[in-house]
Symmetry: C2
Subunit: 351 residues, 2 copies
Amino acid sequence: MRLKIALLGGDGIGPEVLAQAVKCLSAVHETFGHDFLFTSALMGAVAIEKTGKPLPENTLELCTKSDAVLFGAIGTPHFDNDPKAKVRPEQGLLNLRKTLGLFANIRPVKAFPAMLKQSPLKKEIVKGADLVIYRELTGGIYFGKKQLSQNGTFASDICEYSESEISRIAHMAFKAAKKRKGKLTLVDKANVLETSRLWRRVVTEISESYPEIEMDCMYVDNAAVQIMLNPKLFDVILTDNMFGDMLSDLGSVIIGSVGLLPSASIGDNNAMFEPIHGSYPQAKGKNIANPVASILSTAMLLQHFGLFEESNAVVAAVLKSFQKNIVTPDIMGSSKYGTDYVGDFIAENIV
Amino acid sequence: MRLKIALLGGDGIGPEVLAQAVKCLSAVHETFGHDFLFTSALMGAVAIEKTGKPLPENTLELCTKSDAVLFGAIGTPHFDNDPKAKVRPEQGLLNLRKTLGLFANIRPVKAFPAMLKQSPLKKEIVKGADLVIYRELTGGIYFGKKQLSQNGTFASDICEYSESEISRIAHMAFKAAKKRKGKLTLVDKANVLETSRLWRRVVTEISESYPEIEMDCMYVDNAAVQIMLNPKLFDVILTDNMFGDMLSDLGSVIIGSVGLLPSASIGDNNAMFEPIHGSYPQAKGKNIANPVASILSTAMLLQHFGLFEESNAVVAAVLKSFQKNIVTPDIMGSSKYGTDYVGDFIAENIV
Ligand SMILES: CC(C)[C@H](C(=O)O)[C@@H](O)C(=O)O
Ligand SMILES: CC(C)[C@H](C(=O)O)[C@@H](O)C(=O)O
């Protein structure tokens, strides 16, 4: 297979972890003989600095023409602490998601046996946890009209959803449930929000076409608690953009580190893969960032293109690094292994 | 002191746990000699059944004229599963909060030493946790205009905030931080939402009048994770209505049970006290619901009116019930003590 892959390192530790992902895809090339054509481009604060725009036209064009995008991370403290900034790094990411039509963000949360002790949760709670979150990614309050009054004392954000936006990701989530444990939980706030009630109506109707799937609904406040108390209750979680942002980060509590979780953002014609962690600016350039989430993103990429054996080989190499304790200091305080070293080890073990 | 207290049992286990709270206030009356004038009224699904309205006029009038409201819980599965219902129980609660102007919902989360093992989190993580959440309660997406298109395929909810709505609760939260550990964390999603950027600007400006308070900002997705990983990082958390709904329920993960956490909703002229748990319909009438959250709500009520000794006496009685293992089955599976019995024990020990 031959895949054109756009590389967007972004901000903070993004470029460092992305470099390890690229190493691993190169190892896949050597072992399995597929061709990956990599092209790098700017997005985020780094793009604002160099071009004035968080998502320059040529970056967008490159991504549109690529088979897949591998992305690092976005955001810097400078912009975070300036509520009045006119241009922000995150606009680049949101704009890219929207333009590429990446409506489904998929975040698998599966406890690694070797990492159980990492979790702040008790072992018996996380052991065996295996769920996946389907987060709607191009709608809701992220993309509705935003306003700040002339005098700056009044602000608003609109949350909007249409039936078609809900149904396309719902079908995807039900199909995933069919291949998994056969359960789907819709998370919403239907006792308060009109958009949530639309979600509940549409998803309940769609569930009738999937009689083999057990579907239930949960309010988001309760869902956040239940995911912590009993993650094993869940199989597929389907939810909107804002609720998904929070719930999927909670998934990292189960795993014990944000440094281990990948995600895929899928549309009809494009796909992007990225770690769920942020740009972690304090660690930038220190060679301490955990590259595993970024590397596992390539496993999701390979799977997306039907390269299952290759994907499994990447996962197996990651598991081997856990067994041998070739991990970054976020996982084991005493570890002397850096981002680079861990990336090299995993790449070498892709066989 | 003489206090007029409106009692709204509401739905599910609400009336059962409220009855225990009333027992405890009666014990406070006997021990300390204050007078509490209780009047009961309907709200929620039970009010819809009997009057067609979730918040009947005479209930609202009673609450307006009372010094405080003690509330149980709201919601039934019937309404939860009917996205098209025209009237819903929760409207009663939202309407009451809005009409009484209860703009600040205060949820203290303090780990009970006797309950540490209840938490799904490891002991070393929860031990010593002591934070309080200030959730804005009468604004944001809960109260903005909601719309469903004529053909039912498009829905929207507006999230709105004004500077004055933010500043009044911010001042309250900064003052609380002054009496506590001197730290305030604003939780928002300022990298995406205009309303969050308004929060960040206003709260940052207000922080200049409280130079002794250390203030920081955190994105809500990260905050959810950090509260689980290291609750001791936090002192006062200030946030909007929707984020506060989720974060404060996560507080119950630290404590190990939703059955133990009270809350106060405060306005300029009124105050309401309630457990954070929901109506738990499966437990209704079974005498198994945990009355502690409702009883601790009375401790918050007493404190609100400056009755500190009385408030401490209620808390001490609750702690005694923990020590003696006089707890409901949610806390100790083998327990044979019911809601009533635990309520009686605590009331008798208010001395
Ligand atoms: C950076 C930010 C805009 C983004 C989001 O909120 O979607 C991030 O938190 C994520 O989850 O990918
Ligand atoms: C019942 C519901 C409307 C309510 C809310 O979301 O505010 C509840 O979850 C709470 O937190 O008090």
